[in-house]
């Protein structure tokens, strides 16, 4: 049933305009920024070579482009997620879900996976765009693959968090505004506080950037699994509350 729900969500999102607008807009930004970075790199490449610098196209084109994709995902995931729970409540379709023989856990896991599936085309199309640089430049493939793995984990995490927030509200716009508020806070947290602050561990970027540097750290995996898992559990709890079971 979880896979059925995931495929339904994916089909529903694909049938809507938002998914295609986000995909087109995201791809346009990635291509435009990627080419702008490449142009800038082409201008300074001879100087870098002459100076014997250890940085190349991976650092100066690929990583900034992947960083931009993080921002696009942060902006896009809540737009897709707002309809997943709050939209169901707002439209009255929640009655169809809650009167069906499916558990809250199945609903949340299925919808999270469906939302993740809807984020994948953007991750893969952007990944292919930057991988196309490999046709003419020497890029660090393991680092690119690790970066994409990090983005896949981030998009799954975003799906679980945005879905949980969506489940707290009866109106999609309220879910969207709250998601943006929370994600912006987590995105800026590392620049708002020093690395010694106890809440620094919750800052998002220090858990994302190491993937682009070619580092797969257990603490980053633990962050995504722990906070994403908590979002799933809280999502199940919010459905139980809606059903009046708790």
């Amino acid at each position: 049933m979880i896979s059925d729900i995931a495929l339904h969500e994916w089909r529903r999102l694909r049938a809507g305009m938002m998914f295609w607008v986000l995909l087109a807009f995201g791809q346009l930004i990635i291509a435009w920024l990627g080419f702008a970075q490449l142009e800038a790199f082409a201008k300074i490449a001879p100087q870098l070579k002459a100076a014997g610098a250890a940085i190349g196209v991976t650092d100066l084109v690929l990583v900034p482009t992947l960083n931009t994709l993080v921002l696009i995902l942060l902006l896009g995931a809540p737009l897709l997620a707002m309809g997943c729970m709050a939209g169901e409540v707002h439209s009255g379709r929640i009655n169809l879900w809650l009167s069906s023989p499916v558990s809250g856990t199945q609903i949340v896991l299925g919808k999270t996976l469906g939302l993740w599936l809807a984020n994948l085309p953007l991750v893969f199309s952007a990944g292919l765009t930057v991988a196309a640089l490999g046709l003419g430049a020497d890029i660090d493939w393991p680092r690119l693959l690790l970066g994409i793995a990090g983005l896949l984990l981030l998009s799954l995490w975003l799906a679980s968090v945005a879905l949980f927030i969506s489940g707290l509200f009866d109106h999609p716009a309220a879910a969207l505004a709250t998601s943006y508020g929370i994600l912006l806070f987590l995105w800026l947290l590392d620049s708002l506080s020093g690395s010694a602050a106890p809440w620094y561990w919750l800052a998002l970027l220090p858990h994302v950037e190491p993937w682009f540097q070619g580092l797969m750290r257990s603490q980053d995996i633990v962050f995504f699994v722990a906070t994403g898992g908590a979002a799933v559990l809280l999502g199940v709890y919010s459905i139980a509350r809606r059903r009046g079971e708790v």
Binding site: H8, R11, R12, G92, R93, I94, N95, L98, S99
Partner: protein, 241 residues
């Protein structure tokens, strides 16, 4: 014979201002029951509880002798629910909406196709199966909602104001559909319309202020309006006192 539905002392809402209190109900296979009451009488809350959407604050609901609570979501397979707001995805076609409703109710792939065909035929939407649900008229959308509730051939059908907001022709179509349901299907119908009760149901419960005020057999000469007035007045007097 085991009742299809048994509700004992169910209530919902805070103790000092319950939306529904101490409601009992028993439904045998094939029973057709109407719930009649003014706005805010507790009909929709009761329907949601009977459909398993909402857990009662007090009391319990049994479906075919088993308690309908969080431990047994599969019991909801016996229930078809048409809420007041039709739960369709406007961006999906009629076929896709029905396929999803069937899959959500646990119909496996082989059965699903024939169930969609049967449901489309039953509600006479066969010619519109590829139309987007968002482009259907109000009456067609209502029929689609009914098809969603019927697709898994439930033992118990819960219909919350199925003719609300429809023109007389559409109302008549929906009534014909409900009247033509299999005789073994039990129906609970919440409505404001006395004609719905007279035409479709064998029993009527009058609700007011979240309480059962009266229960009557529906006979050809029943004075539904009189009973309705009496029940509404009893509720008003109780509220004043």
């Amino acid at each position: 014979m085991k009742p299809v539905l048994l509700a004992r002392h169910i209530g919902h809402g805070p103790v000092n201002r319950p939306r529904l209190s101490d409601f009992d109900l028993q439904l045998q296979p094939g029973d057709r029951l109407a719930l009649l009451g003014v706005n805010g009488a507790g009909k929709s809350t009761l329907m949601q509880i009977l459909a398993g959407v909402l857990a009662p604050t007090t009391g319990e609901v049994e479906i075919r002798g088993q308690r309908l609570d969080r431990g047994r979501p599969q019991l909801r397979r016996h229930i078809g629910f048409l809420p007041q707001r039709i739960p369709v995805y406007p961006e999906l076609t009629v076929n896709e909406n029905l396929a999803w409703a069937g899959r959500l109710r646990g119909l496996p792939g082989r059965q699903l196709r024939s169930a969609i065909e049967a449901a489309l035929q039953q509600v006479q939407l066969g010619d519109h199966s590829r139309r987007l649900a968002g482009r259907l008229s109000a009456g067609m959308r209502q029929r689609l909602g009914l098809a969603q509730a019927l697709i898994h051939a439930p033992d118990l059908l819960i219909l919350d104001e199925p003719t609300a907001g429809l023109d007389p022709l559409q109302t008549e179509q929906i009534r014909d559909l409900i009247a033509g349901l299999p005789t073994k299907t039990s129906v609970v119908l919440a409505t404001h319309l006395l004609d719905d009760v007279q035409r479709l149901c064998g029993r009527v419960i009058l609700l007011e202020g979240g309480r059962k005020r009266a229960e009557h057999e529906v006979t050809p000469d029943i004075d539904l309006l009189g009973h309705f007035r009496q029940s509404a007045q009893a509720g008003t007097l109780e509220t004043r006192s």
